[in-house]
Structure formats: C-alpha cells, structure tokens
Symmetry: D2
Subunit: 341 residues, 4 copies
C-alpha cells in the first residue's frame, strides 16, 4: 500500500484525491496540504475520504516518513521547487504540468530526478492515459512507419480574458498537451515547427498579445510530419481527436459523447455533441494516470510520462512562439541552444 | 445523509456498496449483512469503505434505528420476505429483481408497499438508469405517438448449463430486463405476446427444457407494437440496443465500446466491439440507480421503478412461457386471471 | 448482344429502359410496347435511347424473331398471361413482381417455366441486387448458422387512400419485398408466421380494411427466426435496413444517404437523412438486376430470382393476412394446402 | 439542346462522353476528335452513344458551326492553345485541368476568356461537383466565419515512377485539386503557404526530385487558416475528406464506401474501406460538372469553376514548391511578382 500526500488542493488536487480513493486500491491518501485549504475541502478529505491529516504547510507532508509519494498540484510557480524538495526528502513525485515556466528551473528538476534515480517522477500529461489515445497509440504500432500525425484540439470556450493575460499564451497553456501528444503518438522527437495563428475567436485575445486559433506543422526526427490545429472555442464542445497515418494503414479516434442515441427526424439524423467539460472527457484518464504512477512505484518500472516528457513540450512551445513572432520555421535545436547560453 | 444497510454481499451487493460509497454523496453504507460473509468482503467494507458494522444476520440491520434504507441483494427466494420485514421495520427498500418467483408472494410485497406508502420501494431494473436508454426515452417524448419498439438484447455467452437448469428460463432470467424496458420506453402496458424460440446456441439448453434464442412480439395497450430479440450468445460481446419508432421520427441507441478508435487498413475499417461484460456496460447505471433511490427518499418523490414495475414483467414472462409452450399468442389478462384464481 | 423488348412503359418500364441503355453494354433495347404509350416516352426511346420500334401492341414484340428477351412491366393483372405467351414465343422473361395475385395463375407460370427450361425467367425483386443487401448476404456466409434475421422496411409516406384500397394490402403491396428478403438472406424457407398489425399512421387505412404498421415474426425451416417491421410512414425517409445474426457474428446494413457530411453545432451532430425516394435508393439495384438477367442468358446460368422466388412470398403474404385476421400463427403449409384444393 | 464536341478521347474524354450521353439530357455529343483515336473508342462513340462524327483532327470540330461547345481533354500541353482557338471559333469551352503548366500561356487564356465574355469557360476541377464537398460548402455557409479548413487527400497508390518524373511534381499533379478545394470551400484567396514534405512512401520518388507526403499550411485573405495533408499511398483506398471549422460550428465529410454493411465478430466491428478508384468516387461529380457547364451555357450564368479558378491553384502550387525548396513560408504575391516580370 502506497501512502500519498497531495500538495495543493485546488480543483485538480481534489480530482486526484477522489481518483486515488475510488480507483487506486493500492494507494491511500494519508495527508493533504494547502495554504488556503477551505473547510469544505478539509471536511471532504477527512470525512468522506478518511484522509488522516490536512495541513496548511506542505513541508509537514515531506517530513512525514510514512508517506511514500507526493502529488504536486500547487500553483505552477512552486512546482519545480517542491518537486526538488520532495525528491530530496525521498518521496516519489507526480507533478502537475508544467514542471515550470523557466528553462533553468526545469533543468534543475531534471537533474534532481537523475540524482534520485531510485525515485519515480511523473509529469501530469493526463491525455496519455485517455482510453482513446492509448488505443490509438497501441493500434498504430501494427501499421508500420508513421508518416503523418494529425491532432485536433479545441476548447469549448476561451477562459476569461484576465486569465488569458497571465496564461503564458496558447502554446503553453493549451497546446502543450498536444505537443506532448505528438511525441507520445510518434515515439519520436519534434525537430522543427512552423506556426500560423491569429485571434479569430475574440479580438481581445489578440489585443492581449495572444492568439486563439493556430495551425502548427512539424517535422519529426523520424522523418514523419505532424500538424496540430487548436481553437479556443468550438461551440459544440470539447473537441479532442487524433489521426495517425502510417505506411500500412491509418488509425483515428473520435470524441466521446454522453450517449450513443440517434434521433432521426425529417430534419436529419441527430446524435449527441462531444462531452463539453474536460473533466468529463478525461476523468477516467486522471484515475488511470494515478494508477500508473502507483504501479510504477510498486513494480519499480519507468513512469509513462517522465521529466524529459515534461521538458520537451516546453521547448517546442517556445519554438512555436518564436515561429509565430518571426513568421518562419524554427528548430528545437535553436531554442535549446538559445536557452542554454 | 441517508444511512443504508446492504443485505446480501454477493457480487451485486459489493457493486452497490461501491456505487454508494463513490457516487452517492448523500448516502452512507453503515452496515452490511450476509450469512456467508467472506473476510475479504468484510475487510473491503470496513477498511476501504469505512462501513461501521458487518453482520451475518440481516435482522441486526432491520433493528438498527439509525438505518434509513436497505438494499436487498440476498438470494432471490428471500427477496419478498425481507422486503416485507424491512418495510414493517420502517426502512425504505431497494430490492434487487425479481421481487419473487411466486405470484402470491409478489402480491404480498405490493400490498406491504401500499400499506407503508410513506416508505420508498424500488426494484432493481438497472437498465432504466443506463445513459443510453434514459436518453432514448427522453428523446422519444418529442416524437409523437410510439408505433414500434424494438429491443435487441444478447449476452456474450450462455451461463453454465447447471445454472440454466435452475435459472427459471430465458424469459425470467434474461428477457425480464427487456420486458421491463418495453414498459419503460413505451409508458404503456403489454397486453399480449407471441413467442418464437429455440435452442440454437447449445443443444443442451434445449435438453434442459429451455431456449437460448427468442423473438417475442407484443401488442401494447397504447396500440403500439414491440419486438424483442434475445440470444444467449453474441460472440462479439454484450449487445444491448433499442429503437423507438414514432409518428414524427425514430430514436435508436447503439452499444458502448471501450474506445472510439478506428483502424483503417487494406482489410477494411475496424472499430471496437461492444463492451463484453454487463458490469462494464451498466456500472454507471448501477450508480445512477442508487442515486435515484436516495434522491426519491430525500425529496419524497416516487421511485423510477416501483413494485408494479417489479410485478408486471413477471406476468409478461409467464405469458411468454405459455405462448412458447402452446404456440399461440397469450394475453397478460389470461395469465393474471389464472394466477389470481 | 442480347436484344430486348420492354412491355409496359410506365415508370418502371422507363427505369429499365434507361438501365439497360446506360449500364448493360451486353444488351440493347430494340423495341418497346405500351397500349397507352405517351409521345414523350416514344421520343425518349427513339431519340435518346435509339430504340428501333415503339408499338402499342406487345404481340409485335413477341413475334419479332430478332428479340431474345422481354422485360414485362405491364399492369399486374397481365403479368402471368404475357409471361406464358412470351415463353411460348421463345423469349427469355424478366417479369416485374408480383407474377400474379392469383395462385392458380402463378402456378401456370411456374409450369410454363419448367416446360421451357432452356429459357431464363427472372422475377423483379430488385432489392436482391442492392449493394447493401448483396454485401450483407455475402458477408453472412462466413459467420456460421443464421439464428435471427431482422428486417426494417418503412416507406416515407403512405400512398393515396384510393391506391391503398386496390393495392392488395400491406403484405402484398409492401411487405412482399421483405418476405423475399428473408428468403434471400436466409437461403431457407419460411414455415410459419405470426402477425401483429394495425392502422397507426392513418385511420382511413384501417377503415379501408388494411393496416399500415406491422410486426411479422417467422419460423424458418433452417430453425432460424426472422422478424420484419413495416410502416407506411417514416417521416425521415425510406428506411431499409437488415441484420443477420449468426453463430459466429452479426452483419447489419444501414441506409444510404445523399452525402457523408456531418454538421456539428451547439445543437448536436447532424447528418443526412436516408434517401427519400425508392428510385434513388434502388437505382443501381435496378441496373444490376437487368445486368444479372442478361448475364444469366449469355452464360446460361440460373437467374438470381426465379419463378419459385416469385411464388413463395405470395404464399407467405397470404399466411400473414390470415394470421392477422385470425390472431394466430399460420403455417405456409396450411396456405398451400388451402390454395391447392 | 447544346451540341458538344469532345477533343481528346483518352480515359477522361470517354468519361465525359458517357456522362453527357447518360446524364445531361440538355446536351448531345455530336463529334469527337483524337489524333490517335482507337477503333474501340470510335465504335463506342458511333454505335453506343450515336455520336455523328469521329475525327482525327480537332479543327474539324472547331469549324463545325452546329457545335456550341467543346470539352478539351487532350494532352496538357495543348490545353491553352486549343482553348484560345476554340474561343475564337465561338465555342464555349470546358477545359480539363490544368489550363497549362506555363504562366504566360495561362494568362493568354485568361485574356481570351475576357475578350469573349459572351462565351462560357469552365476548368475541370471535378471535386467541386462532388456530392460530399458540395454539401460541405453549402452547410458551412450557415456557420459564420470560417476559422480553419482541413483537407485530407491521399491516393491509394503512387503512379509509376516514370510518370512521377514527368508529372510536374506532387503540388501540380495531385495537390492542385486540394488547393482549388481550399479556395472553393473558403470563398477566399490563399495569401501564403508553408510546406513540410518528403518521400516517405517510395525513396525513388525522392530520388526523382519529388515528394510523396506533404503538409501544407496556409494563411487566407479572410484571416482563416487551412491545412492540406497529402500522401501518394493510403493502402486502404482513396482518402478524400474535408473539415470546415467555423465560428458557430463545424462541418466535415467522410469518404464514400461500396456499402453500409458492418460485420461484427469477435475481432471487432468491420466496415468497408473507402472507394479505391477515383472514377468510382467522382463519377457522379464528373456528370454533375458537365451538367453545370451545360446549364451555365443555357441559362447564361457564370460557370462554377472559371479561368481564375484555373490560374490560382497554379500560383499556389508554385509557392508550395518554393516553400519546400527554401524551407520558408512563401506568399502568392511573391510568386505572381516573379512570374509577371
């Protein structure tokens, strides 16, 4: 039985608590920590989920020897520091994405993971654990060399403009998942990107210096090509599809819907829209993510999404931003060279 | 907060315990009872789900004043007696189907429910709570008079021949859910049935006096018609579909599959089979069923599946058996008259 | 090159002329005949399709030695007499369904075909040549014994009430195609039928002594079961689907639609209705039907739909009518015995 | 009745002859011309389709005053010259794509069309007339501003390497249709393109200086973005899909298949591959194309695909080739400026 402490009890922290308690029988949430812990969350944890301790200070979790692993869901700017502290305290770490928004701090986490190679480190790219994308990857393995990967990823509605302003931009805030998905599905590295993008959904997003619509095409080291299309607003719901085109065939995944029902009338055949809310679409994936993390600890196997998987999309997103700014293709090598100067 | 006791801790009892604990925040399982309670189940209940008491004798649940409601999952022959006892003890009752295999004992339950009209009674026709069938019913309401209802219901594989022998036959053991579904979808009563059936899957089923394949057509009191096709063996999985054809259109539901992935190769377009296991298909429905039961108690509203809904499919199944035996259409009135003699 | 004469130039006669001229390169329409030939049809035939002769009297076709085969599309009451005459005149015959509405006259055609076994005789059950139903039959061959056949067949709208009155009733006028389809898909004979039916679409149809909605279940000589559901009015179009459930799997066919386009908006996913008009759905089938007839002549192979295939659905339709009238299952043997008295 | 002469009787010339004769009742093919006319084609034309004259020299068609319009299907290098001659001879022109492979010669055709504004000129981008793409465009009109257009276009197998060498390259030979489709669906102009491409299917294609796989992303003058993915080899058939993502929803089209049949077994749900052969997929579109051309003549309305629609994809293809060569985005303006020097 793996004892887990959760650091940061916002929405995603609560999701992980619930997932572990209901779907990961090999693990137990024994402590939670959040400087702004609400009494509601505390009650939920202590009463419903029988968590033993609820702290304001996460350091109490790190110093508790009965705790094997931590799940870091605190604010983004604390991810890297707490990850390093936790590793030093001998805890396995599951860290929400992104590891950090600063290259040097990410590198420090990568180094800390290397120094503590007996500990597991997993980054929270939850879509890797989605039933559709897992099946997609699995099936594509039987189809020979990958030639083209296509990812469609559209949100049902943009976040508030105030959030946009501090979000780090479309590439970091939204497309980062898709950049990871290209790597996951291709088992290859992105070498170069080219971006077209603009603010077609909401002018204010453009005025805030961001975009809401983008086409990113890519060259992979395997020789394959990939293309992602993003929009901040698909009025019909959360649109999450992918297609892997290979030498010997093609695999594609469609959206999930609330039901399989079709209504056939004189106006046509009407079926249900995709699930609207990302938690509905990816709830099972969040549970699977935690389960895989716990299994990696128990079986001492590599995590499915490690520190490199946390670093690489960060670099690609930087390349995307530069491509958009400078209207030219940008290599990842250029970005790495620039950042490591 | 509704306190619940579960009587009978076989597979379905454990499913209900898990559903309540993970998906019905308004309820708490405070006690379980089973004369053959395994230590594994006891540990699961007491440790994982924090149930307070685990008994061998269900009467301890009935005499516990802190308990508001019971979920009866004991062996079929005890359903009616425990239901009546529980009602007399002032407990709301959720009783697994069937209420009983004997008409007079079902009627006694019906009467006990009437005498305790302040208590809720719900029968466990879980498919009424399935996301697909709920959407089907909901959408059909907008399409005018129902003309034809079609239900396909096929199991992935027949149960062992020993089970078949004591199962009560295809109509009671398997089709009973579909008979309920016709009533649920039509909001009407079955008046007459005609059956064609045989043992096409396994001769030994025929030798045991049962059938494994059947076409049941029906006349409903609304004037509509219905047809059910059953098979004990669909090699491709658990096949659960329905179609409601109305004056102004048609609604149909398809099976659920593990993923939406399509593999397109030179051999065709391959997508996933239906979910194979009934618990996979109906897990959400079991949770919804319990949630609706608890909500009916809290809000003092009628249950979605009451004692009459438990009685009627029993009568229709009897009519089916007689139609098969005598090779003629049989009315429900004939069966009722016969049984109430 | 097979020279063909078409007798009867109503809608279906013109369809056959067009099919032969555009899709059957091995055949040529050299003459047409119709007592009420319109000048429009005559012009179409002579100018567009380069037909050599247009007669009022079909006997001129029968006496023309250059003509190898006739396609009989005249009024139903003349089918059997002209068929026999044509066979005697040494012509291969493609006869529109039904052969006749009278048993004894059908039997005479059956005998005439036997006496002229060097000539081909084909009945116009065009759906056997539909790309979907042909693929359905083809695929079902790989799936072991057939257990259940389900056919859904619904017209977009009922014909005028005046037509209903002289139509011979739902079973003969509409379901006859589905009765043939059961035989075609099963490669077995119908032994017994049971019918539920009523006038749910239009009361006047009921007042005219007919029904517009029916569920017919059947026992086949192979041991399999079949069920057909018919409605005179599916507001969403011409609904023509089938399903063959077998020991080793299931095959089903869906409707054809004008395009594959899906419109996804906040109101759901909308795709196109089935094709509305039977000629749109079955145009290719009509052409294939003629092509197969001509190939049977050229290669001296059996036709896909022979005189027995014309007779049997007639008997089954009679059994259906009797089942509806007498509210009991009726065997085909009973009908045959009755008619041959 | 429009009298038509067809110039060039290769595969596509014969397709057009058949289309006009079977599907365009308002037109008649009165003459064909081909310097290498086979006797088989001549017989087909004169006997089956009742064409009056079959020439070796197309000038006999141009000098025949009874002929209203010509369909130019000769070899690509003769398209522009014959088009201009035909216009001067007072004939309406339907010219197969491309108008030419040389900019200056295309411009001369454009000018000739302007000088003869009483005559219709149509270029053979047949996909504009495909039932799926027409429905796609039609439906997208109701969904507000277009944000993203995605086109997937993959051939079942590459042409022989000898053909590749003289084909003009992927952009001209294959993607040209998709470049037109972007303009057709967007009702906007392409401003800039960026290309990733390579020879992933067959190394010899790369050795011949061409590519077989490409991702082309684009900026449109409307502000929208588009992306095309091409492959010379989709082993599962001819893959022709598109998606238009708009402010108020999304429209997508799927491939056509030979039948709607699904085979459901223990290996999954198997449905048919896309149609393999481009003539199967686009046969109706070819007929519709001719019908629209004839209607434009009769009603004196603009053609759906005019000389500008012939010119623009040529320019975009040039920009694509340059983008691939120079690994940078290239504007259409740059290409135009370069060519018009």
């Amino acid at each position: 039985m793996i004892n887990i402490g959760i650091i940061g009890m916002g929405r995603i922290g609560r999701v992980h608590m619930e997932s572990i308690c209901t779907s990961v029988p090999e693990a137990k949430v024994v402590a939670i920590a959040d400087p702004y812990l609400t009494s509601e969350t505390e009650t939920l944890a202590l009463e419903k989920y029988k968590v033993l301790n609820a702290y304001k200070d996460y350091k109490k979790i790190l110093s508790d020897d009965s705790i094997d692993a931590v799940v870091i869901c605190s604010s983004t700017d604390t991810h890297s520091a707490i990850s390093i502290e936790a590793l030093k305290a001998g805890k396995h770490v599951m860290c929400e994405k992104p590891i950090d928004t600063d290259y040097k701090r990410i590198i420090k986490v990568v180094e800390a993971v290397k120094e503590n190679s007996h500990l597991k480190f997993q980054v929270g790219f939850n879509r890797r654990f989605d039933h559709n994308f897992m099946a997609l990857k699995e099936q594509s393995k039987n189809l020979g060399a990958i030639h083209i990967i296509k990812i469609t990823s559209r949100d049902p509605a943009p976040p508030p403009i105030e959030y946009i302003k501090v979000s780090g931009g479309l590439f970091n805030d939204m497309m980062i998942h898709d950049l990871d998905m290209v790597r996951f599905l291709s088992s290859s590295e992105v070498e170069e990107v080219h971006v077209y993008g603009g603010a077609l959904v909401d002018k204010r997003i453009g005025e805030a210096g961001d975009i809401d619509t983008a086409i990113v095409s890519m060259k992979l080291s395997s020789g394959a090509f990939a293309v992602i299309d993003n929009s901040r607003q698909a009025v019909y719901g959360y649109d999450q599809r992918a297609e892997v085109f290979c030498a010997n065939g093609m695999v594609c995944s469609e959206n999930d819907a609330p039901s399989t029902v079709k209504v056939v009338t004189s106006s046509g055949v009407n079926s249900e829209k995709p699930l609207h809310f990302f938690l509905d679409r990816y709830m099972q994936a969040y549970a699977k993510e935690l389960k895989c993390f716990v299994e990696a600890i128990i079986n001492d196997t590599p995590t499915i999404c490690n520190e490199t998987d946390g670093l690489k999309p960060f670099l690609i997103a930087k390349a995307c931003a530069k491509s958009l700014l400078e209207s030219r293709p940008v290599t990842i090598a250029e970005i790495e060279e620039e950042l490591s100067r």
